[in-house]
Structures are given as C-alpha cells and as structure tokens.
C-alpha cells in the first residue's frame, strides 16, 4: 500500500520534470545575454586575463567564491570534528 502510493507520487514528479524540460525555451538560444556580452567584451581590458570564466569566478563574482571557500572550510572542519570524537572515545 505504501509502496503503491510512493510509486504514484514518483511517477507524477518525474513526468512533471520531464514535460517541463521538453516545453522549455529552445536549446541554444538564451533569452537575454546583456551581462555576459559585457563580460566577454571587457574581460581582457579590465582584468587582463584570457580566460573569461576565471575572470567571472574571481573578479566579477568574487564574493560567491568567498562563500564557496567558507563552505569547503566548514566541511573539512566538520569531518575532522566527527573523527576526532571517535578517536578520543577509545583512549
């Protein structure tokens, strides 16, 4: 009974996702690219870098990279804290 209900819910969500993906805007034609055209045009003059993706990650959107570095640091500290507690339980 519970598995039948679970199967019906899963089929509903899956069909919704696949139909929404099929009905989206055509692949290969982004709706608006004003900001990205500015990045592609001005990255070599302002940032002096050939790689526009790295210029976006570290210069135009550097604040997101700071948040990502914080998430990585929190994950490392969390894993070390879990296994430090296990090691002290055995002493």
């Amino acid at each position: 009974m519970k598995r039948a209900l679970l199967a019906v819910a899963f089929l509903l969500v899956a069909s919704f996702l696949l139909l929404a993906a099929a009905e989206m805007r055509p692949f290969g034609a982004p709706t608006s690219s004003v900001m990205d055209d500015y990045f592609l045009g001005q990255a070599q003059a302002e940032v002096a870098a050939n790689n526009v993706v790295t210029a976006v990650v570290f210069d135009y959107r550097g604040f997101d990279t700071l948040g990502e570095a914080t998430v990585l640091f929190a994950a490392v500290v969390g894993v070390l804290a879990v296994f430090r507690r296990l090691r002290e339980d055995e002493r």
Binding site: F10, L18, A21, A22, F27, V57, G67, E68, L86
Partner: protein, 117 residues
C-alpha cells in the same frame, strides 16, 4: 512537445529522476548517498546547458578561432561553485554514515529508528 530538440534539458532532468528513484526506493544508506550525488550531477549538467549559444566555442581567448561566437561564461562559473558544495555535502554525509554504522551495526534505514535519550 519537443523531446528531441531539447534533448540536453530532458537528459539532465532524467538524471534527477534517477536520483529521486534511488532516494525513494532503496534502503541502504550508501545507496542513498549515491542518489543524492546523482541529483546534484543532474542539476550541474542543467546549469551548464542553460548557457549554450548555437555554434559557439569556449569563452577563452587563448588560441581562439577568429570570428566565432562564444557561449555565456556565467553559468559555468556558478556550476563550479555548485560542484564544490556537492563535494562538501557528500563528505559530511559519508562521515555520518560511518558514525551510524559504528553505533547501530547496520546500514538499513528501516532499523535505525530509536532515539536514545
């Protein structure tokens, strides 16, 4: 109803549906961690395919072909952040799975139900 025209979008949503199937119908804890990783992979693929321009090349100027249109760089930058966050999530999930196995002796989620107070 263009399944063939929008095939990259449909494939990334198919990956998300596979991950949801694993999360709903499997009982082993490690398989559920694999399911979460599948959902994150599907979403990263969807983000990258949002920024494609027809007939475009990579947005890099080193030895670039002259006069070609370039794809949008911003979805690729956001996908980098998303991949690293997926790594952090998977590392913490796996360490908690090791902790649960140590405490209960089993990895079956239907048997890990008691709240020891």
């Amino acid at each position: 109803m263009t399944f063939v025209g929008n095939l990259p979008f449909v494939v990334s949503m198919l990956l998300v549906c596979l991950g949801l199937y694993v999360l709903l119908f499997k009982r082993n804890l490690i398989k559920m961690v694999i399911g979460v990783s599948l959902v994150e992979t599907g979403i990263n693929l969807f983000l990258v395919t949002l920024g494609y321009r027809a007939g475009g090349v990579a947005p890099i100027y080193t030895y670039a072909p002259v006069g070609a249109t370039q794809v949008l760089p911003t979805p690729q930058a956001l996908t980098l952040t998303s991949i690293v966050i997926g790594l952090a999530t998977t590392a913490l999930l796996l360490s908690f799975a090791i902790l649960i196995y140590r405490h209960y002796g089993t990895l079956d989620v239907t048997e890990i139900k008691e709240l020891k107070g």
